[in-house]
């Protein structure tokens, strides 16, 4: 194999150093690294905005920022965390891992890969530049509901074009992953042998291709409503403001599964490794993911039960929504059954993966409650919703991203990370994130609406607790960065296998892996024999 690699590299002699390496790279690992570093930077920018939000909410009254800027902070925090932090992190993981997991040398479309990453810095420069514009940054919520969003100042077209660019980038990334998985699998790597991370990513990629153009269409109609005299969403011109919500959530609900499906794949890789036991119910995991993806297209209106739909519509969307609990439950039960009668150890990735299962399940329960239309008339647009989606997005997606980072970092860098630092990061994060978000259930049930910069004094106590949790959680993430930098710079050399319970083609490559992952296909016998 080393002969083959040397031969291959001879054809690809052009390898610039410095900035030029990163600007011109078509290598899946370099691009994966770019995505992941970009995601981490955005995580901290979006996190800084969250800190400003929690600071203003620390006590009743307005102490630091005015309401308009507060609305900009919630809007920008959401856009940056969703499109800048979580989605690029998943594409980064896919870039690094998919070719190694399926036994391919690289992604199928390497130049498109470069381009799909390098759109992102421009998209977010456009978006962040609005903070300095007359009228301020977008403040109508990340959901961009008209007519309110049309009151945005100079920032409006920048918002629309930033969203277009983010969409183009994700679609390109998704096409690349589909092309790679369907064309570059090693001989013997049949679909039902694919690691679950690859499976969940293929499904995610199809969701992206189906959903992102819908978002692009919706925001384009906003643009023409604002500047070219159309009335798609203006009741005064014969249009319909509720139609925007239907279109937006037809994108938006698949979007939430775009954010969480790869997390399911990561949990399904980590838990069997540290339980030293095969994943329970592999095929039911695949079918459950596909069912969730299918259902995600027929439940969108549960985000808008209060707009006044006909009874039949409300009933349909309620039934379809609570159905999602079934495949999601199957996944959780499968993870628990994987741990049952295992031989578990608790390295940092496993700790984060277990926390993911427990806390994501809590977010799933509140999701089930929100899906029941008559009670949603009470919960809707309160802090109960805020608690719900932060449980599934922070302790769901973000915890899975962190777990995955610790899990594969030794493979990527060739060094072990600092285990005690990782454990400290885990305990601080897990305790503080619950202090941060659990009380928000109480606030919502007690009647506190979301997206308000100030609140009645009966909400003061739990808001203060939540803010304290927020500050500790924010500060704890610095440990994550320190851990990553330390690991990238050096440390104990990692073996190829890294974790004694790990299965998968990526663990058959040295740590760090060669520039072109599999220049010759792996031995089919390795795949047949459980990939180790």
């Amino acid at each position: 194999m080393s002969d083959a690699m040397a031969h291959d590299d001879a054809h690809h002699g052009y390898r610039p150093g410095g900035m030029k390496r990163w600007l011109t790279t078509t290598n899946h690992k370099d691009i994966g690294t770019l995505y992941l570093v970009f995601s981490l930077v955005m995580f901290f920018i979006g996190g800084a905005m969250a800190m400003i939000i929690r600071l203003e909410l620390f006590q009743p009254g307005l102490q630091f920022i005015d309401p308009q800027f507060y609305n900009s902070m919630t809007t920008m925090h959401a856009l940056i965390m969703i499109f800048g932090a979580v989605m690029p992190a998943w594409t980064g993981f896919a870039n690094w891992l998919v070719p190694m997991m399926i036994g391919a040398p690289d992604m199928a479309l390497p130049r498109l890969n470069n381009w799909s990453f390098w759109i992102l810095p421009f998209a977010f420069t456009l978006l962040l530049s609005t903070l300095f514009m007359p009228g301020g940054a977008p403040a109508g919520g990340w959901t961009m509901y008209p007519p309110l969003v049309l009151q945005t100042g100079d920032a409006f077209p920048f918002l629309i074009f930033a969203v277009h660019l983010m969409g183009a980038s994700s679609i390109a990334g998704a096409i690349n992953i589909i092309a790679t998985v369907f064309n570059l699998r090693a001989p013997g790597m049949t679909l039902m042998k694919l690691p679950l991370f690859v499976w969940t990513w293929i499904i995610t990629a199809f969701l992206l291709i189906a959903a992102m153009p819908v978002l692009a269409g919706a925001v384009t109609m906003l643009l023409t409503d604002k500047f070219f005299g159309t009335s798609f969403f203006s009741a005064a011109g014969g249009g319909d403001p509720v139609m925007f919500q239907h279109i937006f959530w037809f994108f938006g609900h698949p979007e939430v599964y775009i954010l969480i499906l790869p997390a399911f794949g990561i949990a399904s890789a980590i838990i069997p490794t540290f339980a030293r036991k095969p994943l329970f119910g592999y095929s039911s995991m695949v079918y459950a993911s596909a069912s969730i993806a299918f259902l995600s297209f027929i439940v969108w209106a549960h985000h808008m039960f209060t707009v006044g739909m006909p009874l039949a519509g409300e009933l349909f969307f309620m039934y379809a929504t609570v159905l999602i609990a079934i495949p999601t439950g199957v996944k959780v039960f499968n993870w628990v059954a994987t741990m049952w009668q295992g031989s578990m150890t608790f390295e940092t990735p496993m700790l984060f993966a277990i926390a993911f299962v427990v806390l994501f399940t809590i977010g799933g329960f509140s999701g089930l409650m929100l899906g029941v239309t008559p009670v949603d008339f009470q919960y809707h647009d309160t802090y109960f919703v805020v608690a719900h989606f932060h449980y599934v997005l922070v302790t769901g997606s973000v915890f899975a991203i962190i777990a995955g980072t610790y899990f594969w970092l030794p493979k990527w860098t060739g060094h072990m990370y600092d285990e005690s630092l990782g454990k400290l990061h885990f305990w601080l994060s897990t305790i503080s994130v619950n202090v941060l978000f659990f009380p928000q259930h109480f606030l919502g049930l007690a009647g506190m609406p979301r997206r308000i910069p100030d609140y009645a004094v009966q909400f003061a106590d739990w808001n203060m607790v939540s803010s304290i949790g927020g500050f500790v959680f924010g500060a704890s993430q610095l440990l994550f960065v320190i851990g990553i930098i330390k690991c990238a710079r050096g440390g104990v050399k990692a073996t190829a296998q890294v974790w004694d319970g790990a299965h998968g083609l990526e663990w058959t490559l040295p740590s760090p892996p060669p520039f072109h992952s599999f220049s010759v296909p792996p031995d089919p016998a390795t795949i047949e024999g459980g990939m180790r």
Binding site: G61, D66, P67, P241, T306, M339, Q341, V372
Partner: protein, 286 residues
């Protein structure tokens, strides 16, 4: 499904979390959904508690299995990993049982929804219009309407660095300059709409919220059972002062309500027709 039992449990949890010395006057007990004062809000409360208990029981089972595994099946205690990874019966059961639970839950949920959407046989109509950033209330067919916005005391205190401690302001952010006065014991139909952006009208004690959307007129209803003052807020982001457009409903006994209504009519009679053609046309379409 006794709701009483959860209180001590949650109180214990709060005590554990509490930063008690800092907050003497605390509202820590304010943890759950209100039971409200309408037939619908009570139905919603019962449904909420039912689903909450289903979640708590399922969650306890799942989390118990996880923590049992963590304690029992650890390598450091010499646990040897089994290699099974499939069991058709178990997989069938944990697909079928949740499905049955969901169907059982869907029955009361469907009933509650049918109840909410039935606005027939209402005895009066209030038209609620949201605008940036206050509410307008029209007593349809009564020639009474007025605007209702944040009370001056709250408005002064909520300015950036006002120097006024919100805790010294009565009903901070939940007080208005003019309350919506309603009778108890009547089925009241609400029509919600908006004149600029989307708002949402929510009084938790009534058990629902309904979006106020320009170009739409949404219907909902409430039958308030007890006299009292019930407070709520706008719940759809509507711009800069979204957090500052509260709702206050004062529910009066029928006789007191009629007295109040007559006073309003007397005060508004001369100007209503001139000022509000919209109300007239709505009245004729009814």
């Amino acid at each position: 499904m006794k709701t009483v039992k959860i209180r001590p449990l949650l109180r214990g949890l709060t005590a554990a979390l509490a930063l008690a010395p800092m907050l003497a006057h605390a509202e820590w007990g304010n943890l759950n959904l209100t039971r409200g004062v309408t037939p619908y809000s009570e139905t919603v409360y019962e449904l909420h508690m039912l689903i909450l208990w289903v979640c708590i029981i399922t969650g306890t089972g799942v989390f118990a299995a996880i923590f049992y595994s963590i304690i029992k099946f650890r390598k450091s205690k010499g646990a040897v990993a089994a290699q099974w990874h499939e069991n058709t019966l178990v997989e069938f059961l944990w697909t079928a049982v949740p499905a049955i639970i969901l169907v059982v839950m869907a029955v009361p949920a469907t009933k509650a929804l049918i109840m909410m959407e039935d606005v027939s046989k209402s005895e009066m109509t209030i038209k609620v219009t949201g605008l940036q950033w206050r509410w307008r209330y029209d007593y349809v067919n009564q020639d009474v309407f007025f605007y209702s916005g944040l009370a001056n005391t709250s408005n002064a205190a909520r300015q950036l660095n006002s120097g006024i401690d919100p805790r010294t302001v009565e009903n901070y952010l939940l007080e208005v300059d003019r309350e919506l006065v309603l009778p108890v014991g009547r089925k009241i139909r609400f029509l919600t709409t908006a004149s600029d952006v989307i708002h949402s009208w929510w009084v938790p004690a009534l058990g629902w919220k309904r979006d106020a959307i320009p170009g739409y007129i949404n219907e909902s209803w409430a039958l308030i059972k007890e006299p009292g003052v019930y407070r709520g807020q706008c719940t759809e982001l509507c711009g800069k002062d979204h957090g500052f457009m509260p709702i206050v409903v004062r529910a009066l006994p029928e006789a007191d309500y009629l007295v109040w209504l007559d006073q309003q009519k007397a005060a508004q009679k001369p100007k209503t027709a001139a000022l509000d053609p919209g109300n007239q046309s709505l009245a004729t379409t009814r």
